[in-house]
Amino acid sequence: MKIIYSLIGVLALILIVALGVGTADLQYLFGVIIPVLAALVFGVGIIYRVIKWARSPVPFHIPTTCGQQKSLPWIKSATLENPQGRWGVIARMALEIFLFRSLFRNTRVELRDGPRLAYGTTKYLWLGGLLFHWSFLIILLRHFRFFVEPVPFFVLFIQRIDGFFQVGVPILYVTDIFILLALSYLFFRRIVSPKIRYISLIADYFALLLISAIVISGILMRYFWKVDLIAAKELVLSIFSFHPVVPEGIGLLFYIHLFLVSCLLVYFPMSKLMHMGGVFLSPTRNLSNGSRARRHVNPWNPPVKVHTYEEWEDEFHDLIKGAGLPLDKE
């Protein structure tokens, strides 16, 4: 049912543009006004969410660790698993963001004959996620050929690598295949396993279906149902230089694609897709585990009057010395 609802949602969006542009000729609305508004919602929404996160205090020092903390010099410590300083944290975050290291540790629980509980590693979700996100990034970067003039060198370079096999007309990009495979995996993963289906929400399906619809419309536009790319780029350039003009006859599929992207932009800040910003702000990942070296103060604590050991030693200096006990300062 949840799947049906999200599917209906996406199809309704497509129907809206198809009617809006196909029958009512609202090219300016769907080509300029809605994308620009969507970009604004995206920007403001992201700032709002990030600031809201940044305003919540982190009362406890909660980095997750799975390695030896830095302690005595002769005990080997795990700098990545248990980062001690800033560089350790940066390296750990980089691995997290670029390679999804936490997901790599994903485990699966199974009830085997016996009955016996078995745990094993499972890398499929990691692989599917990695494939999806990297393909998405590369596809986004490739789109810069429509966003800027002259086309930057890195776009040409990516295109060449991506179309390395030179199959078909226009040349087939490997990332197009990868993203479709990854999306299908991520989608069917939620349907096939009853456990995952049970915990899946409309929002989970909707995000996947919306992105799939964007990908499919893009692929159709590139390989099957051609649109006037020159006119499409003119439109995009004119928006980016704040003098929007809508050229004639770009093709309906382009407007469908653009409208779905606008919907994604609007949906982004108010959905779980915000994990893009959230990953940077996860305290379990971005805190260094220096709890033995530095004191983490709960930001909402009232000021606590402390009496440190040094002060104590100073206070009883003569007495300690008189008793012949060792002093830190001497």
Partner: protein
């Protein structure tokens, strides 16, 4: 707000990147550029209707190639009833003899560089 320095730098970086097309087009000054392709032939019509050519000429030349190379079929019956020899150099570039001002201008606008000319001859350009 906690860690406001880092948060603000992060947000600025993100929006700087997201808005990079705006900066880039400002810097290159080509935000309103559009390729003005020159048609040098005296003919009135392309081998297929112009809207079709504009979006789908690649399908056409590839189908020509397959017909010629795989099926040794060299004659194309155009929509006007005129016969064309299916040849990249001999037909397309016969009418569109200004490849750099025509094909290339469009293609570089969308970052495309068909590798056909690795093998196929480009006739000497006369405008």
């Amino acid at each position: 707000m906690y860690d406001s320095g880092k948060i603000i730098i992060g947000l600025l970086l993100f929006f700087g990147l997201i808005a990079s097309p705006i900066w880039y087009n400002l810097a290159s000054g080509k935000g309103s550029y559009k390729p003005d392709i020159k048609i040098v032939t005296t003919e009135k019509q392309c081998v297929a209707p112009t809207p079709y050519m504009r979006t789908s000429h690649m399908d056409l030349v590839y189908s020509w190639r397959d017909l010629v190379v795989r099926e040794n079929h060299r004659s194309y019956n155009s929509f006007t009833g005129r016969q064309y020899d299916m040849s990249l150099t001999g037909t397309c570039l016969n009418c569109h003899s200004n490849k750099t001002e025509f094909c290339d201008k469009c293609h570089s606008f969308v970052g495309e560089a068909p590798f056909c000319w690795d093998c196929h001859v480009v006739p000497k350009e006369g405008n």
